[in-house]
Assembly symmetry: C2
Homo-oligomer: 422 residues x 2
């Protein structure tokens, strides 16, 4: 087993040596001369003077294949955007399209330091192939939308059960009823049951817009969160995307059930869904993580940028001290890794060896008064030199294997797709 | 005179040839074979297949030397931030510090596609040297803060008058009373007079916080905008940074006087100053441009990121169709160039040859359904390959001359500065 030594890397305010063995950080200590590592053979030595290590990102909510739709429709209200643009083009997407869209998404994630994503789309199998080829971690799910067909429902539940046997350390499968307004009560319950039986994640959009809350109150006499609770969908393996519109009672239910809320600031702002109540959620000690949503409502998968949006949005709503840099970095890293059961998200001995290596001589990281502040508020992807996942380099010195091929394929299928819609 | 040919560059949806002669775009037309350009000699040919040209950025409000304070103090209320952190360290800054801080700022601007900045700080001479060395455009001003000394006031006014003789096409000088709460009535009037006499710009912070409006109402019985109007400070060469808190009457005065408002979304959000009323300003047909403010309240000078913040902030406040990508790009480019009297900010024949060249094979610009949408919402600086200003390359193929030296000097003086405060 080859070990990797990150020699003289900046970590916690000083130069250290970080030894990776297998898929873990084996030791982190004061930097030593290379000859002291003679016992580790084979050893890949990476000279890291002038570089710093930071935790990698875990993206809590994505629709990866939508990378094909980047910039296809913007600057319009949600209903027009969905009905006239997104749904018609999605109806024309083939499996091949989705596969290449996911590959482009993963390429973008790797280049921006993300090693895990929690995906919901119509591309379960394509996502699985792309993830395995590119070496990062994921929880993937087919999004279930209720069209009334009983056989379609049965098929979905059967597939959810069957997929569990294919779970690996890197790739797991979730159950994903799309939302309370696209899935009926019976199927929401069946999804909750199959997720519980399989001890797997349940991924759903919740309380994204004020309209969703109003409609739910008028239809069920409950808020969306209360409605999910009444059907048994809340719990520590339930991942609730958006969660913008919450009452105090909703927050109590979410805390009791230890459910996970995914904050998607760019998407919520761009679609004018509302302002996530970040301070209330912190005060109520809820489990919050960060996600980008799909690129057609963002329009990228850059978790660094997402951190800045989350923090600045919190500040303009609650005051300049709200959601400081350290806290939002936790949401994007260790808190998210924990939510998905990964012993990762921190640079510490015994943790899974996922990390970003940044170049401290990047102009946006100068001066280095406070690395985390620079990372959250000032940097961009140009500072990211290498990305490690599970003890392997996904990107080394800016190189991701097969990048050109991935981009050419995505470009080709995206442009053919648009032609088929017109 | 060497001409530059940007051969086969993507512009307005197709491959074109752009010929630059002197400091202007001389011709823009369908791409031709290179031999057709034999008459232009000497000719520097830049092969641009797979690249696109975009207008460069004009940053409406900066404090460039503050780049030394990046990440020095964050996540705290404005008064604590200013009184306990920023002002004490500013008091220790030397001219040498400021010179190296401005150089770092200009390096960051060039790498993010900015070719002009409108600066206000205590570093007039240092800014002048740095701008001339690095080849971009600027309007620079010393920030005047009233300490009550008459001789200090006289000296400031005399310096403002004297500097006008040093104006060049690239570098001009402005008068910059800091704000209505740091400069007395008599000096505000004198600043307006000297700006009028010299036909130069007047740069001031206005209505940044709600508190400023409340204090002004109680002290003068007028809003800050009305107060400036009463003292004769409004006009087409008056540049008003922030302008967050405005009444309808304020907007009427600003329109009548053709004053220029600078929107600083990141700073306003990070310091919790408030939400800029972008839709009202557009509806009232006011002149709005974009700026980053200094890095200690941002914490970078990246106008691409600033555009995304401006657009998404407008959308979450006013609806998803507010401030579309094309409009915010205008604020950051052609509208800003016009506000500063530059025949620039557009890629068109006869305009000053300022531009950004981006790599269309950057993963964040794929697919290319809508280049402006990708640029505003999806890209980052990693897509920027070259930057042109006044017909010269400030950055060519990612290389800015003397980059390492600029960064090393800034790092050194910033760390020494911090030691002197502790």
């Amino acid at each position: 087993m080859t070990s990797i030594l990150l020699h003289q890397i900046w970590h916690q305010g000083k130069e250290q040596d970080i030894l990776i063995q297998g898929n873990q950080f084996a030791s982190i200590k004061e930097s030593e001369a290379l000859e002291n590592y003679a016992g580790y053979s084979p050893l890949k030595v990476v000279e890291c003077k002038g570089k710093a290590i930071l935790p990698a990102f875990y993206n809590g909510h994505t629709h990866a294949a939508m990378n094909l739709l980047r910039g296809y429709a913007d600057d319009m209200p949600l209903s027009l955007w969905l009905n006239e643009h997104i749904w018609p083009i999605e109806a024309k997407m083939t499996s091949e399209d989705m596969y290449h869209g996911v590959k482009l998404a993963i390429l973008e994630m790797i280049k921006t330091g993300t090693v895990f994503f929690n995906d919901m789309y119509f591309s379960w199998d394509e996502c699985m192939s792309a993830v395995e080829e590119m070496g990062l971690r994921a929880v993937v799910a087919d999004s279930f939308i209720d069209h009334g067909s009983e056989s379609y429902k049965d098929k979905y539940i059967a597939k959810c059960k069957a997929q569990q046997s294919k779970n690996t350390d890197m790739l797991r499968f979730a159950v994903a009823p799309h939302a309370i307004y696209t899935v009926g009560e019976d199927m929401l319950k069946r999804c909750a049951e199959v997720a519980r039986e399989s001890d797997t994640f349940l991924h759903i959009h919740l309380a994204e817009t004020e309209q969703e809350v109003k409609d739910c109150l008028s239809q069920h006499g409950m808020t969306p969160t209360e409605y999910l609770h009444s059907l048994g969908l809340l719990g520590p393996k339930t991942i609730l995307a958006h969660s913008v519109w919450l009452s105090q009672h909703d927050m109590d239910l979410l805390k009791e059930s230890a459910s996970v809320l995914v904050h998607n600031p760019c998407s919520n702002m761009k679609l004018a869904s509302g302002i996530f109540p970040s301070k209330n959620l912190i005060d109520n000690e809820l489990k919050v993580i960060l996600g980008t949503d799909g690129v057609s409502s963002n329009n990228n998968l850059d978790m660094r940028e997402e951190m800045k949006f989350a923090a600045l949005m919190a500040k303009v709503r609650y005051g300049a001290e709200a959601l400081p840099a350290d806290k939002v970095l936790q949401w994007a890293t260790v808190d998210a890794a924990r939510a998905f059961g990964l012993n990762a998200g921190e640079i510490a001995e015994g943790k899974l060896a996922d990390a970003i290596i940044v170049d401290l001589s990047n102009d946006r990281l100068i001066p280095n008064h406070h690395l985390v502040s620079n990372w959250v508020y000032a940097a961009d992807s140009s500072a990211i030199e290498s990305v490690l996942c599970n003890g392997r380099f996904l990107m080394e010195n800016h190189v991701v294997p097969h990048e050109d091929e991935i981009k050419e394929n995505a470009m080709r299928v995206a442009h053919d797709l648009v032609k088929r819609v017109k």
